[in-house]
Symmetry: C2
Subunit: 193 residues, 2 copies
């Protein structure tokens, strides 16, 4: 039990924060991206299962790989963002439970249970997506969560051969400026392979 945070903090992560779709032309250092992940990974998930996987797209080359899979309305603003975070979930997350939740045999809760694996990965990966937004805002960055992309295309391009399914792409394109309209986030999910 602690005290209420100062209003300036509540303003920054909730009240004054907006979904942005235009960005400052300033690079986001990798150290800052690591700091975001170091915070968000502390947010609670079921049995600490932490299924989300984050891919940060920064380089021109990486963005070009992403471009053809974005819906037209999202293409320009996404390409102009200093960073795009692609959030996937790992369908093999439960293999790590002996390390992440060592006080019981949590791995056995999931073995051979495809539907439970998919639902747990989706729910907890989504929670972690929300933690990412909160962590980025807390570190002073603006976000423009959205989807509007070809889920399977991005999945093939960036996660081929992995058990990682794309949950939502979120050009959490940091350091935005207030824009005239909000973008939408309609992240879609896949059934497990």
């Amino acid at each position: 039990m602690t005290g209420k945070l100062p209003d300036t903090c509540l303003d920054q992560i909730f009240r004054e924060a907006r979904t942005h779709n235009a960005w400052l032309d300033k690079p986001v250092p990798d150290a800052l991206l690591h700091a975001i992940v170091d915070l968000l990974k502390l947010g609670p998930t079921s049995a600490n299962c932490s299924p989300a996987r984050f891919l940060f797209v920064k380089s021109r080359e990486a963005k070009e790989r992403l471009k053809p899979h974005l819906s037209e309305g999202n293409r320009d603003k996404t390409m102009k963002a200093p960073v795009c975070a692609i959030i996937g979930y790992d369908l093999d997350f439960y293999l790590h439970l002996p390390k992440l939740f060592p006080h019981t045999d949590a791995k056995s809760w999931f073995e051979g249970k495809k539907e439970k694996i998919a639902e747990t990965a989706f729910r907890n990966g989504t929670l972690q997506g929300a933690y990412l937004i909160m962590a980025a805002r807390a570190l002073g960055l603006d976000c423009g969560p959205m989807s509007g992309f070809d889920n399977q295309g991005v999945d093939r391009e960036f996660f081929a051969g992995c058990a990682i399914s794309l949950m939502a792409i979120r050009p959490d394109s940091f350091r935005g400026r207030r824009a005239s309209a909000s973008t939408r986030w309609r992240g879609s999910s896949k059934t497990p392979r």
Copy 2:
């Protein structure tokens, strides 16, 4: 674009926060619950669809209605919590889009699309669940997110006749004290009726 929040704030909502399962014997005023909702509802959802619905269980009578639907391991700590937040999602959420997202006909994206409705409600309701945790922590309260309950039973007991499906029960039992072990959150979901 803003600055990084002070470390004391980051500590409170991420670094020092824990999942609690024991609680101070202090009531949580309704005004504080309203303040939590007033913050969390500002967190981003797809097209501002905001499908989550929150039911706060405080009275002895309400807790007794909840009790038989809790798994045995969760019963005692849940009953002792000053407040339990039940989080559901409203499968009729899209009917409110003309108000929540007025600049386009967003309602039409969902009409007659059961699968899309269910997925959107689940994902965005889950995001709002994460915002609830962050908002509660930001206002100085501790949480013990978990499920371990009979989803259908709680649904029948509290949401019968509504289009609200229970997504996860979370005894976000505020004002906890540090406990020796974390509880788990394995919120389950329902298919839409």
